[in-house]
Symmetry: C2
Subunit: 290 residues, 2 copies
């Protein structure tokens, strides 16, 4: 059996009991660590599982899938992924490949940012499509995400914006050698800056520093003292010091106009300024607060 | 500490290791069982946890929240919910109430249908807002869900349609007595019939029995032999016998026009008729299949 097992969002204890049993019974266990990251390192997982893990980077998952699947028709092989297995298309590719090889598969689900984002108090059924924001470079500043956000904004839906991570990337001069750049994770202020840059270029008036409400969610599922949720206008969020959000990973939710007063009330607990949060919600979002 | 713990989707082994530890350390453990259901009964959970569970029905969660929260500032109390805690607004209400009472809280996330639906091969970032479909009665046939589906269809997004469940409901003549109706779960054919009824009334041309593709997902996360995914046109799905979908719970995904050929390829494994599935995808959805 080939298992793809979701690890959830935080640490070694977020695996399900079913997932843990599958890991313990597997002859090889791979850890995929480039589409997202856990808040703990590989050795802590290994100690908890009592088992060595094989790191599977992008190269391996995309070009050596047959090696990962080797003998999985006779023994159990597991691929561990952060969040839920269906968060990234590479995992569905792996399942298709296993299917083609007639290897039985099982997916063990877990929380992902796609549902755990509900922790900020905004209701999941009020979210439109999710968008991803990649690091802009000097020469590559793709802005198609703006059209997706616009569609959500026009309907009054919330938008979950997933922020880019760069793990095990190589600079151009190091392409030939096995030298990697340090990992990079997009910060909330950087995300806001990219959003505003594209708004200024496109001028559709869907995002505004002073009147668009947003919620930054960091390390969701990490529990009290670790998880951090900060709510405010885009400009309030981008003015926060790095410590306000803490370690990666960060995501950003852009609040849609259909927001319910109860969602505003719940999230105001996390507001940079409750007064400003309620003020914009009342005047711009037409929220009827008590 | 007051814990709200997601149980995931299937059985007693879908709880996370962190969730299981919290259950074992709690002085009282409530099981919320009306917004969704697990595939196993309470006694199996109790045997696995080595602990008695207090059933919390809608009445209790909505009107006796202070009893549930009693002493949670001194001892640990857990509320178990199917899926992820943020799937239902009543759980955010409980957290707000705990906050007002200055009781520390922790949410332990898990998979929910909102992310596990990716199992059908349709990509989560191509989903628009989620809608709920309630049982129509003689006198109450609410159709506002149609406007939501229409918004998604207009954008080409997929729509996850959650089907009504009725647990511990009372008939009018039994309102005064503690006599409950047997539980009811909306079936896929019934859901399709309600969708088509509203389409015929509204006539916006967004749903068509012969040319709208959909995927029925049943008992997602239940693993091989239990989970069931069936793909086809609305009329193909509604013509299936009940055994094609099996036991509850069922959900329905309406495929949006922006569907990617790889999503069609993945889901065709589950098609009632591969030929019809590919044919409609090519001709109506303009999918470029090999």
């Amino acid at each position: 059996m080939f298992y793809i097992i979701g690890l959830g969002l935080c640490d070694e204890k977020d695996i399900t009991v079913r997932g843990l049993e599958a890991v313990k019974g597997s002859s090889r266990v791979y850890l995929e660590a480039y589409t997202s990251i856990l808040m703990v390192q590989k050795d802590r997982l290994e100690a908890f599982y009592g088992k060595g893990l094989i790191l599977a980077d992008r190269d391996m998952v995309e070009t050596e899938s047959d090696e990962i699947l080797r003998d999985a028709d006779q023994a159990d092989v597991s691929l561990l992924v952060v969040g839920d297995p269906f968060g990234a298309t590479t995992h569905t590719d792996m399942l298709l490949r296993a299917r083609a090889l007639k290897i039985p598969t099982r997916v063990i689900h877990n929380a992902s940012i796609m549902n755990a984002v509900g922790a900020c108090g905004l209701q999941l059924y009020n979210f439109g499509q999710t968008v991803s924001l990649v690091f802009f470079t000097e020469t590559w500043r793709p802005d198609s995400f703006y059209d997706r956000i616009r569609e959500n904004v026009d309907l009054g839906m919330h938008t979950l914006v997933l922020l880019d991570i760069k793990v095990k990337e190589q600079s151009e001069e190091n392409l030939a050698r096995k030298i990697y750049e340090p990992p990079r994770y997009m910060s909330i202020p950087q995300a806001v800056s990219q959003l505003i840059e594209v708004e200024e270029k496109r001028q559709a008036g869907i995002l505004s520093p002073e009147t668009t409400l947003a919620v930054a969610v960091s390390r969701v599922g990490g529990g009290p003292g670790n998880e951090r949720i900060v709510a405010g206008t885009l400009s309030e969020l981008s003015a926060q010091p790095a410590e306000a959000f803490g370690e990666p990973l960060h995501s950003l939710v852009i609040v849609g106009k259909r927001v319910h007063p109860l969602e505003i009330e719940y999230a105001q607990e996390f507001a940079v300024s409750r007064e400003s949060w309620r003020n914009v919600a009342t005047k711009i979002y037409a929220c009827n607060l008590d």
